[in-house]
Every structure is written in structure tokens, then in C-alpha cells.
């Protein structure tokens, strides 16, 4: 791929990033930050692609750490986002849960 193509992709991706995010309710800022945080863990691919070039103990250790870090970033990020979002799920049934039902479904005070 030519440098120009790659820079073009980079610029277009930046605009997509701006566009996708411009309207987000405050409520979803934390999950959104956490979700995008998981996505940049994709740098783990770099570790995978470089492994066959590694020589010697130091380089192998560095790459294993890099892959581990990237995987933590990806897996942890998506899981934590899912957990956060799971807490908003019950929201669409508004009045029914209000009076008594809701407290019975498991979560007592104080976790």
C-alpha cells in the first residue's frame, strides 16, 4: 500500500471517529470510553505479526509481554464495557419495576 493511501485511510478514519461520536448522551460516556479503549487493544495484532522476526530471549519476552498487554486491553475492555452496559438493560420497563418487584430480583442493599 502506498503511503498516500495509508494517510488517506488515516484521515478518513479520523472523520468517521468524529462523526460516530458527536452525539452521545452523558449517561453513555463511561461505557463509550471503555469500549473505544478496548478497540485500541487491536495493537495486539502488531505483536502477533512480529513474533516470527524475534531473535533471542529479550525480544521474545518483550513480544510476549506486548501480546499479553494487548490481550488484557482487548478482553478486559470489552468485558468491563459489557458489565457496565448490562446495568442499563432493565431501563425500558419503566413503571412496573418501580414499587416492589425490583428489589426482589436479587440485588439487596450493599451488594
Amino acid at each position: 500500500m502506498s503511503t498516500v493511501t495509508e494517510i488517506a485511510i488515516l484521515v478518513l478514519a479520523a472523520f468517521v471517529g468524529f462523526e460516530v461520536i458527536s452525539k452521545v448522551p452523558n449517561t453513555l460516556h463511561t461505557p463509550l470510553m471503555s469500549g473505544t479503549n478496548a478497540i485500541h487493544g487491536i495493537v495486539l495484532l502488531g505483536g502477533l505479526l512480529l513474533m516470527h522476526e524475534a531473535h533471542g530471549v529479550l525480544e521474545h519476552v518483550l513480544l510476549v509481554i506486548a501480546i499479553t498487554f494487548g490481550t488484557i486491553n482487548v478482553i478486559g475492555g470489552f468485558f468491563v464495557t459489557d458489565r457496565m452496559l448490562g446495568m442499563f438493560k432493565r431501563k425500558p420497563d419503566p413503571v412496573a419495576a418501580e414499587r416492589d418487584g425490583a428489589s426482589a430480583d436479587g440485588k439487596g442493599p450493599g451488594q
Binding site: L28, G35, T36, I39, F79, R90, G110
Partner: protein, 473 residues
């Protein structure tokens, strides 16, 4: 079979997978911007990630060229073994630190990958157009790794939350930045010195990351995490250019751009500018606070029983939660209080400041966890006009976001920040551990207001006490 294998390993097929993967990222992320589509959105993005990883692993040379391909598996398993339990077990209140930490390791991965690239590819026929992004990625990744770790340390209260500042700090930072750039130029120009790479790029950027985040006060920390998130995204995108990997370029840059937007949204909510935050020290030297303004008054303290009576006979009660509620894990107790009051016919609303807690949306997450109905959570602009008809406002562990000095005292460091105008309500009850000032380290005149009463103690205990008193009435 052989045909299938060849097809699956062909560059075209892998590229197609990458394109599908980043399409899934974009689609998933646009889902994350709406409450209804957010859960599937996150899963779609995760599916995109799985696809990208699998497509990479399908490439023949990833396995054949390596003497120790099983190390890849070790890395993936180790990461999974650390990541899943961490994500499962973290308390909702510790979420911001967790995000900081996940972000940090991402930045660390970027820096390490750049180091390997340097050891192997630099010096030979590696083109400049790969070297430059790789060097920049190393700098930004290293800043992000160390900065995020400091942010984690501050939020986890391993490090003091107050700004830590050296004299002439901005000069030192500027010098460090110049060192990293100069080293990058020297290396890109063809000097192949690993010592320079380690010291001039990785170490200098690491010190810079520490120096930039240490002086930032806790109140600004959400903005900083978001900024570092954007940084890591950008550095991942640069790694993509160096490695000619479309999936990395697109995914990294989207995060870089969206993280920047999010950072701006947060900074705006606090009426701060991003450069001012990075330049350091919210409070710090500036906060010989509000010279000449002496609040003088005394603080009136009250009892759970009195509070219960006041609340039970109110028509509209607004609860303004803050980080104190999160620390005390009081959200479930608060939900119980809401129920008890509603059973008495009192209308209860929650006033959510955009930056209450340590991250935007922090309060929403906690209250949703405790089953507070979504429509009772009111954002700042919606609730502020309501305070005039509010009988009692219950401030639970919130401080700076309710501080009227932001409106009335031009000398205050938080002057101009939009606040919850709780001082407009008929009476205010503040639940607080002690008279210590908020995270921003600024005195709050609200506490000295004659219509304010303070209930000292652990927020969870206080709220439970109030609830049982309300139920006993």
C-alpha cells in the same frame, strides 16, 4: 482441503477480514452511542476484534516463520487469564481506575512493539514512511503507559490525589518533549543506536508521561484518562502505518478521533480547556483560594432523625450524588431510601452532574446498578430549573459539582464551571464524612449557608439510618 487452506491464507482473504473487522468496529461503536443499541454494539465491536485476531493468526508466516510460535498462544492466554478476572471482579466504583489501567497496558504494548520494530527493521531498508510513524508510536505509547499508571495510582489513592508539582515543571516537560523529538529525528536520519532509542525515546517519554499527569489534580482525572485513551488510539494507528496493517490504522485512528471528542465534551462540562488541564495543577499554586472571601459562618450539623422528618414531609426531594456515594458503596441504600420516600408519596429525583464522580456517566452506572428507574435520573440542565420548587436537596458525597463559588466567586479556581444549583432549593442536607474539602481541594460555601444542614458519617450508614427513620415515621 488444500484449496481451502490456501484460500484462507491468501492476502486478499485476510484483507477482506480486516475490512469486515473495522466495519464491525464502526457499526458497533455507533451502537454504543444509544442506550438501546449499546449492549449489542459492544458485542459487535468485540466480534470485529475476534475476526481481526483470527485473520491475523491465519497468516502462514505468523506460524511458519517463527521458531517459537507457541509464545503467541502463551501471550494470548496470559492476557485472557489476567483480563477476564480483572474485568469481572472490579467494583463499579473502581471502574475509572480499571479503564486507566487497560488503557495503560495498550500504550505499553504499542511502545514494546515499536521497540521490536526498531531492533529488527531499522537501519536496513526499512522505509522512512514506516520509521517515522513507528518512532512517534513509541513516544506516544510510552507517555500513555506511564501517564495511565499514574492516573490509576491517583484514583486508587496509592498516590496522593493533589497536584504534585516541581518548580519550572513546564520547562522540564518542554525539554523532555524536545529530547524525544530530537532523538526521533536522529534515529530516523539513520543513526542506529539502541541506547538512544531506549533513553531518548522510551525513557524520556516515560518521564514525560509521569511529569504530565502527576501535577494534575484529581478533579481533572477523567479528562486525562480520556485524553490518554485518545493518545493510545492514535499510537495504535501509527503502528498500523508502520506495519502496513489496515485494521490497525482504522481502528486506532477512530479511537484517536472519538477519544479527542469525548475529551473535549468532558472538559467543556467542567468549563476547563484541555491545554489548561495538561499545563497542570488544578488548584496547585493558583489555589490560594478566593482571596478575600471569608465564609466565616458556622456549619450546622443535624441527625438522621431530623433529616427523615424533613424528607418525609417534603413534596419534592432531589438527591445529588457524587463520588462519596461511590466510595461508600451507598447506591443500594440510596435506592432503598428512594423507595421508602416514594411509599410516603414524596416525589424523588436524582440530579446528575455530567462530571460527578470520577468519570462522566459514573453516577448513572452506579444508580442503574441499584435499579433506580432511568427516568428519575435528571441531567444538570433538566434539573437546575427544578431546584426552586424543591423542598429538600440531599447531597450525598458530592462537593465541587454543587459548589456555588463556581457561580459567585470570580476568584475561585472553579469559577465558571456549570454546577447543580442545589443552593436554590428550600433546604439542603449534605451527607459527608468530614469537613475535608472536595477532590479539587476547594472550600465549599454551600456548607456555611444557613439553610444547609450537615449529616456527618459514612454515606451508606447515614442513608440507611435515614431510611429506617423514614420507615418508622
Amino acid at each position: 482441503m488444500i484449496h481451502t487452506a490456501v484460500f484462507l491464507q491468501s492476502t486478499n482473504f485476510i484483507d477482506a477480514c480486516y475490512i469486515a473487522a473495522f466495519a464491525l468496529f464502526i457499526y458497533g461503536m455507533s451502537g454504543l452511542t444509544g442506550p438501546r443499541t449499546a449492549v449489542p454494539g459492544n458485542k459487535i465491536a468485540a466480534a470485529g476484534m475476534a475476526l481481526a485476531v483470527v485473520a491475523t493468526l491465519l497468516q502462514k508466516h505468523v506460524w511458519d516463520g517463527s521458531s517459537t510460535p507457541w509464545l503467541i498462544v502463551v501471550g494470548l492466554l496470559l492476557g485472557t487469564a489476567v483480563g477476564i478476572p480483572a474485568a469481572r471482579q472490579v467494583r463499579m466504583t473502581a471502574m475509572p481506575q480499571m479503564v486507566a489501567l487497560f488503557n495503560g497496558v495498550g500504550g505499553g504494548a504499542v511502545a514494546l512493539i515499536a521497540w521490536i520494530e526498531f531492533r529488527h527493521r531499522f537501519g536496513g531498508d526499512y522505509p522512512l514512511k514506516s520509521e517515522i510513524p513507528s518512532l512517534l508510536a513509541a513516544i506516544i505509547g510510552s507517555i500513555s503507559f506511564w501517564g495511565s499508571n499514574i492516573a490509576f495510582g491517583k484514583l486508587q489513592e496509592i498516590l496522593p490525589g493533589r497536584p504534585l508539582k516541581l518548580p519550572g515543571q513546564s520547562l522540564i516537560n518542554g525539554a523532555l518533549f524536545l529530547v524525544t523529538i530530537a532523538s526521533a529525528i536522529i534515529l530516523a536520519a539513520g543513526t542506529h543506536s539502541q541506547a538512544l532509542f531506549i533513553l531518548g525515546i522510551l525513557v524520556a517519554a516515560a518521564i514525560l508521561g509521569n511529569m504530565v499527569v502527576l501535577p494534575i489534580g484529581g478533579a481533572d482525572m477523567p479528562v486525562v484518562i480520556s485524553l490518554l485513551n485518545a493518545f493510545t488510539g492514535l499510537s495504535a494507528g501509527l503502528t498500523g502505518i508502520a506495519l502496513n496493517n489496515t485494521a490497525l490504522i482504522v481502528a486506532g485512528m477512530i479511537v484517536g478521533a472519538s477519544g479527542t471528542i469525548l475529551t473535549n465534551l468532558m472538559a467543556k462540562a467542567m468549563n476547563r480547556s484541555v491545554p489548561a488541564i495538561v499545563a497542570g495543577g488544578f488548584g496547585g499554586a493558583v489555589a490560594a483560594p478566593a482571596a478575600g472571601v471569608d465564609h466565616g459562618g458556622t456549619v450546622r450539623s443535624t441527625s438522621a432523625q431530623d433529616v427523615a422528618i424533613q424528607l418525609s414531609y417534603a413534596r419534592l426531594v432531589v438527591i445529588a450524588p457524587g463520588y462519596g456515594m461511590a466510595v461508600a458503596q451507598a447506591q443500594h441504600a440510596v435506592r432503598e431510601l428512594e423507595r421508602a420516600l416514594e411509599a410516603k408519596g414524596v416525589e424523588v429525583r436524582f440530579a446528575i452532574h455530567p462530571v460527578a464522580g470520577r468519570m462522566p456517566g459514573h453516577m448513572n452506572v452506579l444508580l442503574a446498578e441499584a435499579d433506580v428507574p432511568y427516568e428519575n435520573l435528571k441531567e444538570m440542565d433538566e434539573i437546575n430549573p427544578e431546584f426552586a420548587r424543591t423542598d429538600v436537596t440531599l447531597v450525598i458525597g458530592a462537593n465541587d459539582v454543587t459548589n456555588p463559588a463556581a457561580k459567585n466567586e470570580p476568584g475561585s479556581p472553579i469559577y465558571g464551571m456549570p454546577i447543580l444549583e442545589v443552593d436554590q432549593s428550600h433546604s439542603v442536607i449534605v451527607l459527608k464524612r468530614s469537613m475535608a474539602s472536595g477532590f479539587a481541594g476547594i472550600d465549599n460555601p454551600l456548607f456555611y449557608d444557613p439553610k444547609t444542614a450537615m449529616l456527618f458519617g459514612d454515606a451508606k450508614q447515614s442513608v440507611s439510618d435515614i431510611t429506617s427513620e423514614v420507615q418508622a415515621l
